[in-house]
Symmetry: none
Subunit: 187 residues, 4 copies
DNA sequence: AATGAATGAGACTTCATTCAT
DNA sequence: AATGAATGAAGTCTCATTCAT
């Protein structure tokens, strides 16, 4: 039955993400994941060739998912101001709604073994491509892709990682960040 | 009695940093570190209580060192524009001059086990304190500490992590980033 | 799925008992046991949670076995004289027929770590309960359970531990002990 | 200075005895002993050639001490009844007054590695020699040395090992044991 | 004589992976 | 497809002992 299998694989993925986020990549074993997923360690090797392959695949999938989420927030009819808002706020929303995946990706991105597997730029490229027209039309300031990337996403990522207790405070902070970025990037 | 050999301890620290940066925290074993440092695995336990304690101590030391480096770049007579330049350029310089330590800290910061041990804010607080006077005097825009932190350091960190081949290109990028931040933060 | 191999577990138990008896509890390692049992060290941890747990479990099992052996020697129709004979001779027989288990239990009983785990009295209680009726009927002398225990089993244990070369001499000694105890305990 | 050295060696011995009694022979390391004795591990090797030699020497010394204690309780003018009382009560007293040494010896006696080093009979021989005259004179029953040994010391040892909370109860038990043995051994 | 540093060997245990059902 | 058993290799850490002061 296809549904059953899909469920099992899904449970494995979720277990992997949850445990790495909770215990750290260095304290994550196949046995732990299997137990958390409610399957046998051997079962994992039906779906993945090795622990490393599993990590890599799930990491890519999660990263792609987060970019997909972001893309889904954007509408072609948005003006530049709205676009910045959608991107930054979208990224933040993702980190709230999919906290486990967000934290997991964040951790993998900084591990040398996994960072190499996956060029983030490939994904961010499509997002940046949506911004270029605004720069060409003189609505947004022109700057390098690298810095655009850095400014649009690094600060919000930082905010997401350092979230503190009162939820309202976080929203205030996010709004402040967005308007700073609008000031910075809009003409 | 043989006296404690602090050069030996230094070699252990450097080996730890180098290997974690090279192989990732999840592929770093005490035996590997010992071999790289040219000591017996047992020797490591003379200087540290456990692998975890070693990681934590070295991490804290490195983080402190990076903040110390940054502080050393600042002069009281600097104006706001120069201060932003010094901080951002200083952070970048550190990531170049102490690439191993920078990458190591970056990785530890995202590992759940280590992130908790150490509140980065405690250190960044002194840096932010140097900026507040400029905000009070109306020379720099007023914004929350969190966003100041996020804008000043997250993007340059991103740039440092994604350095690409031609060195000149990186400098151009850095200069662009600095002037963007000056535009953003200065009145 | 491969099914649990209880013959393998049996081999582990026997190896544990044999090695502790031969080398002493302080010279018994998991690796040694595994080698003697013909399994991998890791396999031991499928059957036991830790070395300590293994020791404790095997110890309890062996102690229980020795009491079971003793109980099997007793028949309800025995008179008091026969009962004493059966108990003392039974204990001695056990120490001969199951020399390894006997020596192993003897050693564990005196190790602080294991002695606490296991209250010998719980088992000896049933044996003593068989004697009480004879005391009530005035056939055996009345004395405390502790001293009954002490007199019935400690001396024969001592004899078993200090067995010397000619087997006949040991039998003579055992017979003498039994008749001494009969003199002592019977009215 | 001679006093100092003697003290240091004494402290090592006491630490060894205390730790083995507390943690068991299998959990006793040279480092632990050194720490408990307040000396360096290296210092231990000034007084003893190896851990094993240390154990063996201290064990013998303690065993000898316990027999010496017993001998000191006996007076030539005692009659047979008093002699039995003195020996059994003496053994028990030793187990109370020198609980650590008693427990330590008891444990060593059952460890194969140490049991071989030391033939208990050599010491008990002198004690038994004191009893033979009474047997020759028809005041005590004649029996083998082995069983004499077994009856006189094994039960009291058992009582000592299984001491329970109310001290008075133990005394009652001891008195009962002594009078049982007097009944048994006297003509 | 005495010490804490240093270590190779080995302790216990867990690892990622394969096997047999 | 799925499993718990099984394992060689490797993990962290401690051992008894020696070194250098």
């Amino acid at each position: 039955m296809r549904t059953k299998d899909y469920d099992k694989m899904q449970r494995i993925k979720e277990a992997l993400v949850r445990i790495i986020l909770r215990d750290g990549i260095e304290n994550t074993s196949v046995a732990k994941i299997a137990k958390e997923a409610g399957v046998s360690p051997a079962t994992i090797y039906i779906y993945y060739d090795s622990k490393e392959a599993m990590l890599s695949e799930v990491y890519q999938e999660c990263a792609r998912q987060s970019y997909g989420y972001l893309m889904g927030r954007i509408r072609p009819e948005m003006d530049a101001r709205e676009l910045i808002d959608a991107l930054v706020r979208g990224y933040y929303s993702f980190s709230v709604d999919h906290a486990e995946i967000f934290g997991f990706v964040e951790q993998c991105m900084h591990s040398p073994g996994l960072a190499g597997i996956f060029r983030e730029e490939d994904l961010s490229a499509q997002i940046l491509d949506m911004i270029h027209p605004y720069q060409d039309r003189g609505i947004m300031k022109r700057c390098s892709n690298e810095n655009l990337n850095a400014m649009l996403f690094a600060p919000v990522r930082f905010l997401s990682m350092n979230r503190t207790s009162p939820a309202e405070k976080n929203t205030v902070m996010l709004n402040e960040l967005i308007s700073m970025l609008q000031d910075l990037l809009l003409m």
